[in-house]
């Protein structure tokens, strides 16, 4: 055969991945712009669509800038791991990346940390008592990673759960904020995430005005945290509106 | 139509065949099959209770494990496993032992070309030895297409490398039926293909040429199997 098995040969990408902090993020705070030209408090345009995968009970596709995610929901179905009887349902989450998700040659694998974060973000909102003894599987695949991957996965998963008809207290929306120097930037892209001083991710139920998950890492001052929280809550409720519209559209389309 | 083969065979001549059954103690059925220097051992365990996940419990299930001569199994072996499993499923009667799993283990002893057909023949003999209910036997053959358009049967490793294309074909063996000849409509059963796997580009006509030559060769193969099995039957009844 013409092609030899290539596993043995080692390869490298000709692209040079810059790992240094770009000069635009130096301390002269005021005169720089974000890589995609957005304002600091402006989110990327969101494209949301339900029913992306026909073989799943429910599914959704989300595209925020270059971040593209598909989430499929299966079930409620038989619990595969022979576990003890439980009168509430189980939630099983998995997040994986494609091999081409990011330009720096990364291996597409399961993302254990994001899988458990997704689980924690969702478990508070799903009415698990409505499907006793069974399991709902939420699987996410990040097709392309363009920053703020986890918040996009969480929001998309909540749409997929609705599409599957799983009972929930409310929609779930997630937004993250990066802190670079003195500025806060909402919905950061990969370049910004690479040189941030601190990151703040919030998952909340927009209608109930309740938070299901809050992650803060890095260096934060109290006023900055307060500001970030306000920014996130605001963005989450706006994202909630967009998601609601998307669901309404899907429902009216299926009615016709 | 002359074509030189390394070992002086005619194009349609097979390498010497050898088959012995019941060679291993532990398995419920076992067989070794060799075509020239290619030799494969097959062992059958089962039917065991229960089926694996994602399998239909209303039918008998088969599990196939391919053990290469050395090293780990790769994609090619996975493909062989899948082809063999499907082929075995199609020749066995699946409704007799529902909710059971039968394991077939193929151990490659030596690979000198036509490995997959050799493994299929070995698996078939081992299944017979284990007494698994079967509709009919499967007879496998490898047909090669040489540069000059001739079809060569049962190639060895050297020939396989030189050929432009080759096809692994599996046919049902000729059945001895009480029905008068020609009573069934259409083509006879043994002309139908169970499995076909091809590598390399060939024209449609060449493919049909392969199928025809393969079909003709399986008649003699199938006669060999029948004789061999009857022989084994007589021996065992004598000793028993």
């Amino acid at each position: 055969m013409a092609s030899k098995p290539g596993a043995a040969t080692s390869t490298y990408s000709p692209k040079i991945v810059a790992r240094t902090r770009p000069p635009i993020f130096k301390d002269s705070d005021l005169d720089w712009t974000r890589p995609d030209g957005r304002g600091f408090h402006q989110c990327r345009p969101a494209l949301l669509q339900t029913g992306a995968v026909s073989s799943a009970s429910g599914s959704a596709y989300a595209e925020f800038g270059n971040t593209k995610v598909i989430v499929s929901v299966f079930g409620p179905r038989e619990s595969k791991k022979a576990m003890v009887y439980s009168d509430v349902g189980r939630l099983n989450c998995n997040v994986s990346y494609t091999t081409f998700a990011s330009p720096s040659a990364g291996q597409g694998t399961d993302h254990k940390e994001y899988s458990s974060m997704l689980h924690k973000a969702l478990e508070g909102v799903i009415m698990t008592e409505t499907f006793p003894k069974t399991t709902v599987d939420v699987f996410a695949l990040v097709l392309e990673s363009g920053g703020s991957d986890l918040p996009v996965v969480i929001s998309c998963a909540s749409l997929a759960l609705v599409d599957a008809g799983i009972m929930m207290y409310d929609l779930i929306t997630a937004v993250s904020v990066s802190c670079i120097g003195k500025s806060l930037m909402i919905d950061p892209v990969t370049e910004e995430e690479g040189c941030e001083d601190g990151s703040f991710t919030m998952t909340c139920m927009p209608s109930r005005y309740e938070i299901t998950q809050l992650t803060i890492t890095g260096e934060w001052t109290t006023p900055n945290i307060n500001e970030a929280m306000q920014l996130c809550l605001d963005a989450c409720s706006k994202l909630g509106e967009i998601m609601r519209d998307c669901l309404k559209q899907a429902a009216s389309a299926s009615d016709e | 139509m002359e074509i030189d083969r390394e070992d002086g065979r005619t194009p349609n001549q097979l390498r010497p065949l050898a088959c012995s059954r019941n060679i291993l103690h532990r398995p419920h059925g076992s067989a070794s099959w060799s075509q020239g220097d290619t030799k494969v051992l097959a062992a059958v365990y089962g039917p065991k209770a229960g089926t694996k996940k994602n399998e239909n419990p209303e039918k008998a299930c088969f599990e196939l494990i391919w053990k290469p001569k050395s090293g780990q199994i790769g994609k090619a072996e996975k493909e062989y496993e899948m082809i063999l499993k499907r082929t075995i499923q199609s020749i066995c009667v699946l409704t007799v032992n529902p909710n059971t799993t039968t394991s077939v283990i193929i151990q490659v002893v030596h690979d000198d070309g036509s490995l997959l057909p050799c493994a299929i023949n070995a698996a078939c003999a081992a299944l017979v030895d284990a007494g698994i209910p079967m509709k009919h036997l499967a007879v496998a053959i490898c047909c090669c297409l040489a540069d000059n358009g001739y079809v060569v049967l049962d190639p060895n490793k050297l020939e396989e490398k030189k050929m432009t294309a080759f096809a692994y074909l599996v046919f049902p063996n000729t059945t001895l039926s009480v029905l008068p000849e020609g009573s069934s409509e259409g083509e006879p059963v043994e002309h139908g293909l169970i499995t076909s796997v091809t590598y390399g580009v060939m024209s449609v006509d060449d493919y049909f040429l392969c199928v025809e030559n393969g079909r003709a060769a399986t008649a003699s193969l199938s006669a060999f199997i029948r004789k061999n099995f009857q022989q084994g039957q007589r021996d065992s009844s004598k000793s028993g």
Binding site: S10, S72, L141 | -
Partner: protein, 302 residues
Amino acid sequence: MGLPDSSQDLSSEMEVDAFRKIFPLRFFERHLSESLRPDGRPLGKARDTIVNLGLVSSADGSALAKIGYTTMLAAIRMEVMTPSTDSPDEGCIAVEFHMPPICSPTVRPGRPADAAPVISKRLLDTISSCNMIDLKELCLVSGKAAWMGYLDIYCLDADGALFDAALLSAVAAFSNLQIPVVALNDNGRIVAITGEEKQDNASITEKEAVNKERRKLTLKNIPFSLTCILHKNYILADPTAEEESIMDTLVTVVLDSSDQIVSFNKSGGNALAHTSAIKSCVELAKKRGNELKQILGEMDVD
């Protein structure tokens, strides 16, 4: 054996959906006897097919292929390798077919689907044996550096005929592939040249640029495939997942641009392929090949 008869009687009393679940084979055979399939297609017709190019911005070439609901996303990343001593002026292609858990209820995380490695292998066999790509075109510096194309195909939605869709997406991704501009630097490594750098140190790069402009590969021979189901005397082209699970005899025919057989694949199954059936499958594949050629052709114009 009283089952078929009892279902016959029930068919008039039961609801269609229940009948479909309980007697799937009967349900399909009733349709087939009318030369129609449950989704309204005639037996020999393939589902609607869509191909989109260049959806993945981080890859050098990508394509999305949809056949009915079956969706495949293919992307190619080009990396540099040292060619083997046997063929110092040839590059290499590696193909990996993935079935992530999102695509089908039968795939679970941590346990890869059985079908995935088999389809990977068949794709690589098909692409390499029909000489679609001249591996010499992937050479950069003879004996020192050559391109290694990593083709990754992700199944986003599995609804039958996976190999057909995967091959179509692979072919489309190769037609979309742009080989990046690279130069040999002082350390003997190949580095990419972006637009700005080229202006900055044009004197150095101009001289050493190995691959001066973004170029496309010439696809010499394009393979197209069609999967058919054989069931009794019926031949169903381009089956859905439901049809594949009920009627188990699948035949995959791959033909190249000059209608030669690249692969004729049938693994077991209850039905036997007789000469006439083989001929009809090849005919259907020819027709489908022309359809797909047209779909790919329309893309090139855009």
